[in-house]
């Protein structure tokens, strides 16, 4: 057999395996879509190569010049390096060194409060900047990324170091003597007056805190936040106030909610319904906004003509102005593969491909206002990358994350298991 024949057989085999393998929703991918999604995942990963500081290993909040480091983006960067090594986009050694470098910075350079990290840091010095807060959700995303990344390097010091970062976080302190987690704390003014009191991306924070054995929080913390229901087009949804799609996606990038039952609520199904509602909301407003025409959808927090806004659909506040977040449809690919892939194809080819750049999909666009950006945001890149990994590799992240002892402990304590 010639080399060429071998290659054809290999590609055919890979395609066959991916076509028949059980993606999270058992959706069969066409070869064309598989290649496109793989390309998007690879290009999206490039963000973390380009925008991670070579000295501190911390990832920038956005691709804009002068952007600070975001610890949540750094969590996604850690995860992406580990995953990239599993695909051969980085060698095992390169990925290990990058993750180790970030761990060194997190352990020795970055200021912390009770194990929590400041939201924004200086890329070079790793010190707190912009008077930012010690952030509960961003620390949770960082630690989730660290735990996930270290699971790709068993037998090295990384799992132990990630575990140490996790164990030193005093989740209980962040409650500020209530049963809700505060958004954060500042040395100048104490706890922020905002709490995670509704459904949103904070489920990852809940999971890590309730799974902690070193700084355990009361079981009642899980039931304290409100599950507010509302319906849109006949779909009953436990909704986040803004109706932004990212609130239904962030925690799901790590946690496999498919088999978890929270008193009759399945958050995977909930996100699926919220995504369909988001799509239908856009379709319903397609006459008003040119951006939503041609079955384009995706209302989520993103940059826009008036700056960064928590765009969203019903149920919820549903603030929208024709700005479409390009990561929104991809972030829901595990919930609604068919609808997401259809949107991805449209967006990829939109207006001669102007929405796609060297680091994957740009952050957003608004055709009505003739507003286009070349910027990328770290957390959106991270979520796109992780969700594609779950979708293309049969829930690879979920399988690892759900096996973490702290996640098992959370499920056990909250009796979420079916």
């Amino acid at each position: 057999m010639t080399n060429r024949s071998c290659s054809i057989v290999l590609v055919a085999c890979i395609f066959f395996v991916h076509s028949v393998s059980l993606t999270p929703s058992a959706f069969a991918l066409s070869q064309r879509d598989f290649i496109l999604l793989k390309k998007i995942q690879r290009d999206t990963f490039e963000y973390f190569l380009v925008h991670t500081d070579p000295e501190t290993g911390l990832a920038r909040d956005s691709s804009r010049p002068g952007a600070p480091v975001s610890i949540a983006a750094t969590g996604f960067a850690l995860a992406s390096f580990a995953i990239a090594s599993s695909h051969g986009w980085l060698s095992y050694r390169e990925a290990y060194q990058k993750i180790e470098q970030t761990f060194n910075t997190l352990e020795h350079k970055t200021p912390k409060q009770k194990g929590f990290f400041y939201h924004f840091l200086d890329p070079k010095t790793a010190k707190r900047i912009w008077g930012s807060e010690v952030s509960s959700i961003d620390t949770a995303l960082l630690i989730a990324g660290a735990l996930l990344a270290s699971s790709y390097f068993p037998g090295t010091s990384l799992p132990q170091r990630a575990q140490h970062l996790y164990e030193q976080t005093d989740w209980d302190w962040m409650r500020n003597n209530t049963l809700l987690f505060s958004h954060g704390w500042k040395p100048e003014s104490g706890f922020l007056p905002f709490y995670w009191d509704m459904y949103s991306e904070h489920l990852i924070l809940q999971a890590l805190a309730l799974g902690s054995r070193t700084h355990p929080v009361p079981r009642a913390v899980w039931s304290e936040w409100e599950r507010v229901h509302d319906a849109y087009n006949g779909k009953e949804i436990v909704y986040a106030y803004t109706g932004s799609l990212f609130t239904y996606q962030f925690s799901h990038a790590f946690i496999d909610f498919r088999h978890l039952n929270d008193g009759g609520i399945n958050y995977f199904d909930n996100s699926q319904k919220a995504t369909i509602a988001n799509r239908e909301f856009c379709a319903a407003h397609a006459d008003e906004y040119e951006s939503y025409r041609n079955r384009v959808w995706g209302l989520s927090a993103c940059l826009g003509p008036n700056g960064y806004k928590a765009y969203g659909a019903k149920p919820g506040n549903a603030y929208h102005d024709g700005t479409v977040a390009l990561h929104a449809a991809i972030g829901s690919i595990v919930f609604t593969p068919e609808e997401s892939i259809s949107a991805i194809r449209t967006l990829y080819e939109y207006d001669g491909g102007r929405l796609y750049g060297p680091l994957g999909f740009k952050n957003a666009f608004n055709a009505d206002r003739d507003w286009w950006t070349d910027d990328y945001l770290g957390v959106d890149q991270g979520m796109t990358f992780l969700m594609l990994e779950n979708f293309l590799n049969d829930g690879a992240i979920w399988n690892r994350f759900m096996n973490l002892p702290q996640i098992k402990h959370w499920i056990e304590r909250t009796a979420l298991s079916e």
Partner: protein
């Protein structure tokens, strides 16, 4: 020192260049928008404790927050530059202390040492020892003084030595005896040889 001076100024100019200031203004706006977006994720909004729409927060309040953020960042930058300057000053201080210490030792060895040696030599001369010759190291600052000085002392040594020898051969009259007693104070090279 000059490098540090220019280094400090370069960091000030860079921190307050047009591009950096513009980037900071945009970042302040973005961070303020992040805060607004996140604060909406709460049921407090429904209770009317927070704005119900991102648009409600535009205008004066938003401008105030952005200005506050910019102020915080400017303070941080100035603090960073001051800290960096202090660090450089401490480093420079260390270098200066080492330099002063080294130059003190140098001066002691190369200047004060030879002067002390000259003083000792003059004391010996005063005591009448004409046999000594001054010797400096090649690197001593006053080494050029040695040859003419040694020449002068050598000439004295020879003259007084000759006078002593002549007096030894002269008849022992009172004047000669008086001169001999006067010259006994001087120790010459010829005394050593005889």
């Amino acid at each position: 020192m000059v490098g540090s001076y220019f280094g400090i100024w370069a960091s000030v100019i860079d921190a307050f260049s047009q591009a950096s200031v513009r980037n900071r203004v945009v970042t302040a706006a973005q961070i303020s928008e992040y805060e607004q977006a996140r604060q909406l994720v709460s049921k407090d909004v429904e209770a009317g404790l927070k704005p119900a729409s991102p648009l409600d927060n535009q205008g004066l309040l938003r401008a105030f927050r952005e200005t506050e953020l910019l102020g915080i960042r400017e303070q941080e930058l100035i603090r960073e530059i001051m800290n960096e300057t202090n660090k450089r000053m401490v480093h420079l201080g260390f270098v200066l202390i080492i330099l002063i210490g080294w130059s003190s030792i140098y001066l002691t060895h190369k200047v004060a040492g030879p002067i002390f040696k000259i003083k000792q030599y003059f004391d010996s001369l005063r005591a009448g020892d004409l046999t000594l010759r001054i010797q400096f190291r090649k690197s001593d600052e006053v080494r050029d003084l040695a040859p003419p000085f040694n020449e002068m002392v050598s000439s004295l040594d020879t003259s007084i030595g000759n006078m002593k020898r002549a007096l030894r051969e002269a008849p022992e009259i009172p004047l000669v005896q008086k001169l001999k007693r006067q010259l006994e104070h001087f120790k010459t090279t010829s005394d050593k040889l005889s």
